[in-house]
């Protein structure tokens, strides 16, 4: 026993850190702050450590070479003992890390913890969020498959929109003229050296600030932050109604961190590793690239923005958003902390959450994309062919063969890019249908050059049958008024 103490003393005599560590460990926290709301920061740190450890373990096998990366991932998945589990833990750990960091940020925002004197803690936190997203994106590239390949293409295309120096930036990003070996090596360096190095530095700074300034007190409505009095009030609070971090407050952090690690493990074991999907061979054009979960909202945004606004928004919005996040503690460094007294903050947060959630949800089924196999995989429902004339059936064939199904739903199947056509005849007259097919318009290409007159006639006569039995097809009112009754627009399909 005394031997152990002797060894300890030997080190302490040289290092002289026992005091500092002790101070850090037992620093007082406000009694009410020792709440389950305050566990996300430590959980983020736990997952970060998990990611570093599993990342290093994966690096024992992974080959960061464009020619070999994909094979080495297959080797990890299928040959290396429990390699699949480590890949899965690293992949799911990434998801959990982004999620926990985001939740932590929301919690800090809602509880007003970014206000005086913790402005710098918040700013460092903003950089930690960006670095975490950077890890998520570069990690997706490490899984060097089709999605990674085309994801890089998308990254390069976005970069190319920067005025004047866009071309240079593309070459820098790719490390060469095309997506190839140098690209993966660049991103490997980013993913395992540069960004983790920055993360370790910023996390240390973040922690140091938390220790120096103390954990945020639980906000009470009416307890207003003032630069002149806050430090004194906080000091009184922690000394009158505080308790040492260890052991009184730390147990909740420990419980939650353990729960998070078990959750990551459970997801990893149950769902398994992410991919890799197809090989990163650009000549396989039968692919539908999609980003990972946390970038789906961006995927949706890029499809839904008006084309003319895309470049300005892509280039300016990030500057504004990041700038605003950094300036936030200076814009509202004082005042109420409680979310009960900050309705605009709560509404803004909800709005952002709902928007991101909606975009993400939309991106899971991407209604803006043509379904590439719609024309060959989704037949025209039989009920739309029963009792039709040969011309109308020929039209259905044209409808199918000319890939109309890739964008148009019929009977609940097909693409969602254009409107569903189950009752198109009730909204467009014969003439309007012909014009729409030949000239296109809205989001539809013009088919005039690729359909001969016979095909157009057949197609339109089929489209005119698409209306519910109890609803007549649309008619041109002026024609109906002028022409004798029997000359009304042709072959109303339904009888």
């Amino acid at each position: 026993m005394s031997r152990l103490k002797q060894i300890g003393d030997w080190f302490e005599q040289r290092l002289q850190i026992a005091g500092v560590v002790r101070e850090a460990v037992i620093h007082p926290v406000p009694r009410k702050s020792a709440s389950w709301w305050y566990v996300f920061g430590s959980a983020a740190l736990t997952i970060f450590i998990l990611q570093v450890v599993t990342g290093i373990l994966l690096a024992l096998i992974y080959v960061p070479s464009a020619g070999e990366a994909w094979n080495s991932l297959q080797y990890l998945n299928h040959d290396v003992t429990l390699g699949w589990l480590l890949r899965a833990v690293h992949g799911w750990g990434s998801n959990f890390m982004v999620a926990v960091v985001l939740i932590h940020m929301c919690q800090v925002f809602l509880l007003g913890a970014y206000k005086f004197p913790r402005e710098l803690t918040w700013i460092v936190g903003v950089f930690l969020l960006l670095l975490t997203l950077g890890m998520a994106f570069t990690g997706q590239i490490m899984r060097f498959d089709q999605d990674a390949y085309w994801g890089l293409g998308i990254g390069a295309s976005i970069t190319s929109r920067v005025p004047v120096i866009g071309g240079y930036l593309v070459h820098l990003l790719l490390g060469g003229p095309i997506i190839a070996g140098d690209t993966l090596s660049h991103f490997f360096a980013l993913h395992v050296f540069i960004i983790p190095g920055l993360l370790i530095g910023f996390v240390s700074l973040h922690l140091l600030l938390v220790l120096k300034l103390g954990i945020n007190e639980w906000p009470m409505p009416g307890r207003v932050v003032r630069r002149s009095t806050y430090l004194k009030e906080y000091s009184e609070l922690t000394h009158k109604d505080g308790m040492p971090f260890v052991p009184d407050a730390v147990w909740k952090d420990m419980f939650f961190s353990a729960a998070i690690i078990v959750s990551v493990l459970a997801c990893a074991a149950y769902f398994g590793p992410y991919g890799p999907s197809g090989t990163p061979d650009p000549t396989i054009v039968q692919t539908i690239p999609k980003p990972d979960f946390f970038f789906l909202w961006l995927y949706a945004l890029l499809a839904l923005l008006p084309p003319s606004m895309e470049t300005p928004i892509l280039l300016i919005a990030p500057v504004i958003v990041i700038g605003f996040l950094i300036l936030l503690p200076f814009l509202s460094g004082e005042g109420e902390k409680s979310w009960r007294r900050r309705p605009i903050a709560v509404v803004a947060l909800l709005l952002i959450a709902v928007s991101l959630g909606t975009f993400t949800k939309l991106a899971t089924y991407s209604p803006w994309s043509p379904i590439m196999y719609g024309w060959s995989g989704d037949p025209v429902p039989v009920k739309y062919l029963n009792g039709r004339s040969p011309l109308e059936r020929q039209g259905a064939l044209v409808f199918q063969v000319k890939q109309c199904r890739n964008c148009h739903e019929l009977g609940g199947s097909g693409g969602k890019r254009g409107p569903e056509l189950d009752s198109v005849a009730t909204t467009l007259t014969h003439d309007q249908l012909v014009r729409q097919v030949i000239q296109g318009g809205g989001n539809m290409p013009a088919y005039g050059k690729n359909l001969n007159p016979a095909e157009v006639t057949a197609l339109v006569s089929f489209l005119e049958t698409l209306h519910p039995p109890n609803q007549p097809p649309a008619r041109d009112a002026s024609q109906a008024a002028v022409a004798p009754p029997q000359n009304n627009p042709p072959a109303a399909g339904n009888r």
Partner: protein, 191 residues
């Protein structure tokens, strides 16, 4: 550094630069110069992808295939090996493109990459359209924009016909600012 510290006449040498201060400043300058000396090649190394592009090293004329491989009036997928390639690039050096032969020696060679965000467009001969699976960009058979988010038509490679072979000038990923036909070709390009 605990050697010879002799602050003999310290009190009144206020404006004067002491020997030690001078050396400290020279030391700073020396280190600054050393860093600059080191940083210059480092920056050059990091900017290598740009510098090589500036020297025009990325673009070459490449043979896509014999003319017979491309029937008139059809659009076909062709593949070529990127002119800048390394042994460790694997399959990423195999670049696809769409070749449309109008008639005789008149061609259009389109990049696979959508002009919106670079996803691979697919050709549908029945409807004469290129469709992009990512955000729904659609192009006509001549590469012009039909609908969706792209702001322009498909990127085209400059081409020429030599000795019965179709050749294109290619080498870099086409984007809005590194398009395949941006740079005036190195000699005799007609695209």
């Amino acid at each position: 550094m605990s050697v010879a510290t002799g602050p003999a006449e310290k009190p009144e040498s206020k404006p004067q630069l002491s020997r030690r201060d001078l050396f400290a400043k020279i030391g700073l300058v020396l280190n600054g110069a050393a860093v600059l000396l080191l940083a210059t090649p480092v920056v050059g190394y990091l900017l290598s992808p740009i510098l090589r592009a500036e020297r025009g090293q990325y673009k070459r004329w490449i043979t896509l295939g014999e003319l017979d491989e491309f029937p008139e009036g059809q659009t076909r997928l062709a593949k070529f090996r990127s002119p800048i390639s390394n042994a460790w690039d694997g399959e990423t050096d195999n670049i696809p493109c769409w070749v449309r032969r109008l008639d005789g020696e008149k061609f259009q060679v389109f990049a696979i990459n959508c002009a919106h965000l670079g996803c691979p467009v697919r050709w549908f001969p029945q409807s004469g359209l290129f469709m992009c699976p990512c955000h729904g960009g659609v192009y006509y058979q001549d590469g012009s924009r039909a609908s969706g988010p792209p702001e322009r038509g498909l990127f085209e490679y400059p081409y020429k016909v030599e000795g019965g072979h179709l050749m294109i000038e290619a080498g870099q990923l086409p984007t809005l600012s590194t398009s395949a036909s941006l740079r005036k070709g190195s000699g005799g390009c007609q695209g």
